[in-house]
């Protein structure tokens, strides 16, 4: 057996077991000289072409073909131990991360108990009136012993703070470790100085603070451990998406159906999926018909019927029939993989609201260190006796209470949960800026066709004016429109095809944007389009204007058809309004959003559709190139404008709008011009997107407010500003507890967003 390939597509397309590489993690390699020894041991294994060790990472990349167990054995014989790094699939990475987090959590809890095992008894002793001072030789000896124990706590439970602080210091940067190491270190050094040279310290200041050092280390480890747990929950949405990917696929190889790991499915493979199974890769159905549940990706609750020629998407559930399909996108190219990537990128991007916190974070730690020094100087200069003890306590407390983490976590944690929550509802938010702006939208422009309506118009009426047969009119009209890609044209062609009419070849076809089309068929000059086109070409339509208006008032689009500049028919095409457009638009309006409809359709049809869905404001007869202009007009009125369209011919308008929403068809996520993509056709997705953006921004504001207030109030309190007025000075232990739980509170508040549910759903 070889190992999974990581090489080129060319190799993948040959169905042979490819040559590949495997990564091993090496334990016990403590020096650079081990590198040659390990590489030599591995290259001596049969089938290995090359072994290259990254000493810094303690990993070896082995290329060739051989059993992983043989590689591990070779490393073992060389005097080290090794384990195989599993494939880097999203799921494997997530598992590794979860295991690493769990191990880290356990380590932190263990360190917490070490800190509290010493800190708690000492604190209880001081609370029940025990003397924490050094006055007699016996007390010196006893406290020396406690000091040594505290040093052990600092070493075993707090070493990571000190190492981190030192590394940061060397790097000319400072972080949370710096504050904790300085705070606990100062308390310990001062206490040891009281024991070592009490004669140099005033009587009243001969106080030891070992309980503070041990308690702070214990509590901060506890806070970090709980934060690790809480953080795990913030990525639940991404876990759920990754979990949608099946692990195996049933493919046809050499005429036989075989179950193979998903990583080995190749482009153009023929895949079979039975009822109740998930679609393993993206593809196009070649055989069979079924209903597919796409709700996990699009939020659309109703299963979608799929037949030969239709696309199927990774992770969706085949409900009823057995299908055979050809793989069109595999691995990192599937729609699901793209969705996961997009959500991950968005989860780590920051909305502008977080910028101030970022600027503050950049200067925060050195500023706190300066405040600690100033606070100590103030106590030494102006404080009551024992001024030195007060100075040490206030400096320590300032260093310990300040929490850059709460500030740093405030925005990213909420964005992480909010973007994930939106993805669960089939709403893909491109980045943090889009999330923030979506929460401020005051006006929403909805394109009519395909957004409010189904986007699948049908011919409903053919009113013939010259005595011709309806079918011959339809045949001619469809013959012109077969060269057009306009949705109305496609409706006419479909109607003719459904009747079995044969289309003629149109010559001199000319599409006139926003008006219609002209062509010549069998020497007849044909015109098909709206009233403007007819007037421009001097076709007399006066006898049928009323008919057309009547059709338009029924929300149908009337199209005039003229042969040799004589009106031959009025064809009505109707695009049904989506089932839930009315309730979704009502939902937007009840949230105070000004909803405006935009269409290239005539005014009467537009009015009829707008009235049906409860929209009072609309732009009709808008040419495609003028859509962006309408967005600009609303922006000039001071509105924050959202524009919703299909993302193809709306691209300039979507790009100009403050937030561009693209209504996808199922899982079409690659809509570049959109800030937010709605994976299902329902406008409820739009209302959901705005609702989740508002909830996320509210959550970020709560977090930022809490983090700012905590630090702005906590640091001066710790420095002792209340002491002159109320005699209040904060204990370093309380500061440690407050600091540990401040960042935890931020993560927990962000986690509340997981409970968010969009209304009316």
């Amino acid at each position: 057996m070889g190992y999974s390939d990581t090489d080129s597509t060319q190799e993948k397309t040959s169905l042979k077991q490819p040559s590949g590489s495997i990564d091993l993690i090496i334990d016990g390699a403590g020096c650079a000289s081990c590198v040659g020894k390990i590489e030599g041991a591995l290259t001596s294994v049969k089938g290995v072409q090359q072994a290259e060790m990254n000493f810094a990472a303690r990993t070896v990349s082995v290329s060739g073909q051989s059993e992983p167990s043989a590689l591990i054995q070779a490393v073992k014989q060389a005097g080290y131990s090794a384990k195989v790094v599993q494939s880097s699939s999203e799921e494997a990475l997530l598992d590794e991360k979860e295991q690493a987090d769990l191990a880290y959590y356990k380590t932190l809890m263990w360190k917490m108990w070490i800190g509290l095992a010493l800190g708690l008894p000492l604190m209880i002793y001081s609370l029940i009136g025990g003397e924490m001072t050094v006055t007699t030789p016996t007390e010196r000896l006893a406290w020396l012993f406690v000091g040594a124990l505290t040093f052990s706590v600092m070493f075993f439970a707090g070493k990571h703070f000190f190492v981190g602080a030192w590394q940061s210091f060397k790097n000319h940067s400072a972080n949370m470790d710096t504050l904790i190491a300085l705070g606990t270190g100062t308390a310990w050094v001062y206490s040891m100085a009281v024991i070592a040279v009490p004669e140099l310290i005033p009587d009243m200041a001969r106080h030891v603070y070992f309980e503070a050092t041990a308690m702070i280390i214990g509590l901060i480890n506890l806070g970090l451990a709980l934060e690790v747990k809480a953080r795990g929950r913030t990525s639940e949405a991404i876990k759920r998406l990754i979990g949608l990917q099946p692990k195996t696929a049933r493919v046809l190889r050499d005429g036989i159906e075989v179950d193979i790991p998903i990583e080995q499915v190749l482009l153009h493979d023929i895949v079979r999926v039975r009822p109740g199974e998930k679609i393993p890769v993206d593809g196009v159905i070649q055989e069979g018909q079924t209903a597919i549940d796409e709700s996990m990706l699009t939020g659309e609750p109703m299963p979608v019927v799929k037949k030969t020629g239709d696309e199927v998407v990774t992770g969706t559930l085949n409900k009823t029939g057995s299908i055979v399909f050809k793989a069109t996108r595999v691995g990192k190219d599937t729609a699901l993989a793209q969705i996961i990537k997009m959500v991950k990128v968005a989860q780590n991007s920051k909305p502008p609201i977080g910028r101030l916190a970022d600027i503050i974070s950049a200067y925060f730690v050195p500023v706190v260190m300066i405040i600690a020094v100033l606070s100590a100087l103030a106590w030494l200069n102006f404080g009551p006796e024992p001024a030195l003890a007060f100075a040490i306590v206030s400096a320590t407390t300032v260093l310990i209470i300040a929490c850059p983490c709460a500030l740093g976590l405030a925005t990213p944690m909420s964005v992480m949960v909010g973007v994930g929550k939106a993805a669960e509802a089939g709403v893909l938010i491109r980045n943090g800026a889009a999330l923030q702006t979506a929460s401020k939208i005051t006006a929403m422009i909805l394109d009519k066709t395909g957004t409010i309506t189904e986007g699948a118009p049908k011919v409903t009426d053919i009113i013939v004016t010259n005595g011709s047969h309806e079918d011959s009119i339809l045949q001619l009209a469809a013959s012109i429109e077969s060269s057009s890609e306009h949705p109305l044209a496609m409706a006419i062609v479909e109607s003719a095809t459904a009747k079995g009419l044969t289309l003629n070849r149109a010559e001199n076809f000319n599409a006139i944007a926003g008006h219609g089309a002209t062509a010549t068929i069998q020497n007849q000059y044909l015109l098909l389009g709206n009233e403007k086109l007819m007037r421009d070409r001097k076709v007399d339509i006066s006898g049928y204007i009323e008919t057309a208006q009547q059709l338009a008032s029924e929300a149908k689009t009337p199209i005039y058809f003229a042969v040799d500049e004589q009106l031959a028919a009025v064809i009505a095409v109707s695009d049904p309004i989506k089932q839930d457009s009315i309730t979704a638009i009502n939902r937007l309006q009840s949230n105070g959003i000004r909803v405006v409809m935009l269409t290239g359709d005539n005014r009467l049809t537009a009015k009829a559709v707008a009235e049906k869905v409860g929209i009072t404001e609309f732009f009709a007869e808008v040419l495609p190139e003028d859509k962006a202009q309408k967005v600009a007009e609303l922006q000039q009125q001071g509105e924050v404008v959202g524009m919703t369209g299909d993302g193809i011919n709306d691209a300039p308008a979507l790009a100009l709008a403050n937030v561009g929403f693209a209504i996808g068809t199922g899982t079409d996520v690659a809509i570049e011009s959109a800030d937010i993509t709605l994976m299902r056709g329902s406008l409820h997705g739009l209302a959901d997107a705005i609702a989740v953006s508002k909830a996320t921004l509210r959550n970020i504001k709560q977090n930022l407010f809490g983090a700012f207030i905590y630090n702005v109030a906590g640091v001066p309190f710790a420095a002792g500003v209340l002491y002159p007025f109320f005699g209040l000075l904060l204990s370093p232990v309380i500061a440690g507890a407050a600091m540990a739980f401040s960042s935890l509170t931020v993560v927990m508040n962000a986690n509340r967003l997981r409970l968010f549910k969009a209304k009316e759903h």
């Binding site: 990993t59 991360k97 987090d101 190492v163 974070s361 740093g408």
Partner: protein
């Protein structure tokens, strides 16, 4: 007291110089690839010099198991990448125009700068 106050002020001056004014030396990328370790709360090296208009690979190796260290963001390039533990995660930088591109973890406790010139 005078000496204590002078010492305090000197300490503040030292903090300002060390953390804000000091310009750390940049490590130049060779062969278009730079290995950056994430360990003990810092990126090593944290100040990187790359050639402008040339694609560069940044290979991150994370041995620090703090959750903060798990994501590297380069906001100026709209890059955000999860860094696997005890593995090499390679980020490909596009050809950069001259300038500075900070990179950091999601909370900005781990910080570094890519200087393109």
């Amino acid at each position: 007291m005078l000496w204590i106050n002078i010492s305090g002020i000197l300490l503040i001056a030292l903090i300002v110089w060390w953390f804000w004014l000091y310009k750390p030396q940049e490590v130049e990328v060779t062969n278009n690839k730079m290995v950056i370790r994430i360990e003990n709360g810092v990126y090593t090296p944290a100040h990187i010099k790359v050639k402008a208009n040339q694609s560069t690979l940044l290979a991150f190796i994370r041995t620090d198991n703090s959750p903060c260290a798990a994501t590297v963001l380069i906001p100026g390039l709209e890059i955000s990448e999860e860094i696997a533990l005890n593995k090499e995660t390679v980020i490909t930088l596009p050809p950069l125009t001259t300038g500075e591109y900070p990179f950091h973890c999601s909370m900005q406790m781990y910080r570094g700068v890519i200087k393109s010139e």
